[in-house]
Point group: C2
Chain length 219, copies 2
DNA sequence: TAGATTGTTAATCGATTAACAATC
DNA sequence: TAGATTGTTAATCGATTAACAATC
């Protein structure tokens, strides 16, 4: 078993391949080549093969990859063969939207604990899930052995919450708070900063604008 | 002017630096070195200097970067000196959450057109913004010259919507639909696939688990 | 002047792509 | 067997980091 180091982007692509395989399976297509798979995403076939080769030999030379089998392998690799309990911290606009997002449960992620600091919300049940005061994070998560958390709170106090999550044994955090958080090396922090994303769009729009006027001028 | 090619990640980091500079300015700190800036994000000082050097010489040797001035430069580079009109397509849970997200307006992004296909929603006004039928995308966006769109709709029909946006002159799209969309080379598509993100978290949790049990066994 | 820190070039590192023997 | 496609090694590419002259 030579695990070497697996690039982050390989993992991201793996879950994209998986979605494609689900579609292929639904369409009754029994096998697919790295070339075909690559074409769908504008990737290089060698990259597809390399990504998969990190985890084993799943293909058949001359034929390609058996759809269903590869799908099973990827599900196992990505840890989707089991259901995951997920803690949601913050039940504002974004938190509520995420709670109602059907994609989670479909893929085995169940929000089973919610935390908020608003006394109006604490104690209620939303979608059958109890809302706890944030001060209960450590004991509740510890007891339930929850490993994955979603952070949908404002910047202020976010680090304290993260510290609590880590103390409680959480090893993976999806963070929507627009701030830099620090976690120990063995905890995975995935940032989704919508305002940063919008800024890159703004940058590209500025550029597109300039290009357009330049081209106009040249023509 | 040697523009060369600017890495995507440089742009992302630029907007992170900017946030830091805003805080520094609020704290009345007038200058900062690449070393200090890098430390805050666990980056390399050379990288900070290189990122900035793509766009000009903003620093003073021996002293560092003047906070306020650099902030201004970054705002100009990222296109934040102007307000942006943004179109929101899809007013479900996620769309509503994004509409109510205060971070947008604070940073000059105003959602000024909403599209949905639900007849119940069409024609209403939400937060003072009119909801149009999706079939009106092209004329409405064209007339208002909107350049940035947020896509918060399900997979089905997403490509058709994107085609409309592009036809109407949109050059940057923030996509929350969990599907691969195709756009022309001069349009920037930024995907935020929450289910893919959760899968990478799942993968890391699986790994952390294995590591933990291995260490236990070894001890 | 001495110390500090930039801007930039060169070295390193890591990821992508090309090429090809292995093999279905 | 001939054609196709994998798995893997080698070549390329691009981004990060180190090093250092320029200069405040």
């Amino acid at each position: 078993m030579k695990s070497s180091k697996i690039p982050e982007r390989t993992i991201t692509r793996l879950s994209i391949y998986l979605r494609c395989l689900e579609e292929l399976e639904a369409d009754g297509i029994v096998s697919i080549s790295s070339k075909q798979l690559a074409e769908r995403f504008g990737l290089n076939p060698a990259q597809v093969r390399k990504d998969l080769a990190y985890f084993g030999q799943f293909g058949i030379r001359g034929l390609g990859y058996p759809t269903q089998e590869l799908k099973n392998h990827l599900e196992r690799i990505l840890g989707l063969k089991q259901d995951w309990e997920v803690a949601l911290v913050g039940l504002g606009n974004l938190g509520s939207a995420l709670l109602h997002y059907k994609g989670f449960r479909e893929r085995g992620f169940k929000i089973t604990a919610i935390f908020d600091k608003d006394p109006v919300k604490v104690g209620r049940r939303v979608k059958g899930v109890r809302v706890w005061n944030v001060s209960w994070i450590v004991p509740v998560i510890k007891r339930r052995k929850i490993k994955i958390a979603i952070l949908a709170i404002p910047t202020v106090g976010a680090q304290a919450v993260v510290d609590g999550l880590v103390e409680a044994g959480v090893t993976a955090i999806l963070n929507f708070a627009p701030t830099q958080l620090s976690v120990p090396w063995n905890v995975k922090l995935q940032n989704v900063d919508i305002s940063v994303l919008l800024k890159t769009l703004s940058f590209h729009t500025i550029r597109a604008d300039r290009e357009a006027t330049r081209t106009e001028g040249a023509s």
